[in-house]
Symmetry: C2
Subunit: 350 residues, 2 copies
């Protein structure tokens, strides 16, 4: 049989949220790997670490003392990439050199006082408190001067540039809409103009019918591997109700989001029985005073691992210069994640 | 003084080739680093390695035997991401799921028979033979069916996903124009329509006047850190004459390109006195039978190192989800690279 088949033949897939394509090479998954392998190392951390600048009661780099917090804790980053006291200005030299000042605020969000936990090992109530804190931070940051976009994210694992294993994420809030959310805004708006529904409402409903890329769902959220996933085990959590921002969630939706977040993080840890590294975060409407009905907020997870706890996908050469590329299909990855238990492997070992 | 200053204040810079922005945080370079450090390890490789599948005379994974080549050698990748015998087809499901078959050819390009060399340690004549091979490969690949874009690149170093230290690069040739060259094409065409000159002709001439981002130049090429550089030590080699493709070079230009390539690679190794990792490659016009007068080919280098041989820049969280971000300014990086000698540090040590 020589018909084009997504599970076998090299192809490109379109990402309707960004307007960009990903190169998929399903036949390439048998490639041997002799390159760099990552360290894993048993991950036995104490519940409290006296040298950790995020643990309760410890002193930070700038001399401040953390409160003895018992749930979550947030503060402005001591080494912020974006700061609020930037003089406004523009630099232009001819037609080709253009720069503009960019003010912003960088926040650090501690998920738990426990140094030894991650989202995957926290309970739903603990995660619910993280969700509540994100909503509060979003609300407060959006009232600050010159803040029009708020990026909530987490770098998890040393391989993702995280320098402290204490469970924490970050929020970078700024004047301009960054490149990636800018693309998603443009494509969501065009879709909304054409159809009168949000792109992601139509998308999650189609995926629930197709089933093959769904990992799980609960009453208010769907977790899936998007058809256009770039990273081997890239996923999305999409709210079923069209909402521009996380601040629009009802109490029940916040709880269901915490449930979906915990279940997905646990499945990730169970995949290779390792604390699964990723960068994750929330794409949502700008905080610029307009409603943005076309925006449907969602959370994305970009994990680097490909084949095992030690072999990652390198987004290098061709990917940096030309086009994102993946070896296994999104449907294969979804099946792997769907078949995993939702009890954390460390608990099963007890 | 509270005026906006590119060397001190957080800002965004515009990339006129892609239409995208980079976030620059000059004040952040003092951030302490407690995260992952890279291995360096003394790099004492033999001139010939019996277990290397790229060395002359050795057997490859598919059983083929490499010729006992004495200059360069190329062959079709045994584990190619793009293959030519893909059945043509399209997959469409509703408005949101779209995929198309993608045929292509992946080539491996051995730069030298010597297992222990890199471009930085090869002489200009040896590099000239690599340039000649690229030109020949481009010419031959562009005659193949269904080939419209040809990406020449190299992943150097284990940190860049390179699994064999034998000096080599790759060429991926395919049906479609990938995302990144597609953006550059769009912006170069718009500029050419407006101005009647190529964007990069105007750009390199402006940079030579400004001097601060120039690393060096020779008769036919300029090496510089672009104003909109994303990676800490990102650079470009730009031909002074507007040419769409590397096949347009005169004999003297090929020689001058080899000279510029060697000098830049050597400066990179001298920066941290280590074999400097990077992904590098050539952006040029599609091989689709049209002249593309707006295209001005150029070579780009994306090196991951930030502060030393062991501390790299992680493009994670904020960068993946929102916007590329850098800590040191392009002008600072250009000054560092400009001040380095062009004799390789290993030769100086002899
Ligand atoms: O083809 P190689 O050298 O085996 O593989 C390397 O380069 C490719 C092209 O940039 C990437 O897709 C791979 O992730 C990387 O490991
Ligand atoms: O802010 P951190 O955790 O020190 O740093 C980490 O996350 C940032 C935001 O994604 C990146 O810019 C850094 O490269 C990374 O190491």
């Amino acid at each position: 049989d020589n018909r084009f088949d997504l599970t076998e033949h090299s192809h490109r897939r379109y990402n309707p949220l960004t307007g960009e394509w990903v190169q998929v090479s399903p036949h390439r998954s048998k490639r041997p790997w002799q390159g760099q392998v990552e360290k894993t190392g048993a991950d036995h951390r104490p519940a409290f670490d006296a040298t950790c600048y995020l643990c309760p009661g410890n002193v930070r780099a700038n001399g401040e003392v953390n409160p003895t917090y018992t749930a979550t804790y947030s503060f402005t980053n001591d080494f912020a990439a974006l700061v609020s006291d930037v003089p406004q200005g523009e630099f232009q030299d001819g037609d080709l050199l253009l720069a503009r000042s960019e003010a912003g605020i960088c926040r650090v969000i501690c998920f738990s006082p426990r140094h030894d936990l991650t989202i995957a090992e926290m309970d739903t109530d603990g995660i619910r408190r993280v969700v509540d804190l994100w909503v509060d931070e979003y609300t407060q940051l959006s009232c600050q001067e010159n803040i029009r976009y708020i990026q909530i994210f987490e770098n998890k694992g040393t391989v993702m540039g995280c320098s402290n294993p204490h469970p924490h994420g970050q929020i970078w809030a700024q004047e301009s809409i960054p490149v990636e959310p800018g693309k998603k805004q443009q494509h969501q708006e065009a879709y909304y103009q054409r159809k009168g529904t949000t792109l992601l409402s139509d998308y999650w409903q189609l995926e629930v019918k197709r089933a093959e890329r769904i990992i799980f769902e609960n009453e208010h959220f769907v977790a899936l591997v998007p058809f256009w996933a770039v990273w081997p085990f890239e996923t999305m959590i999409i709210p079923k109700r069209a909402m521009a921002r996380i601040t629009d969630m009802t109490d029940a939706e916040r709880q269901a989001f915490a449930d979906a977040y915990r279940r997905l993080a646990t499945r990730y840890d169970n995949l290779f029985e390792v604390s699964f590294p990723y960068s994750a975060g929330i794409h949502q409407a700008p905080s610029d005073g307009t409603p943005h009905s076309a925006w449907h907020w969602h959370m994305v997870f970009y994990p680097p691992l490909l084949r095992s706890a030690t072999v990652k996908k390198f987004m290098v050469g061709y990917e940096m210069l030309a086009n994102p590329q993946r070896d296994i299909t999104p449907e294969f990855s979804a099946a792997r994640l769907r078949d995993l238990p939702e009890t954390h492997y460390k608990q099963t070992l007890l």
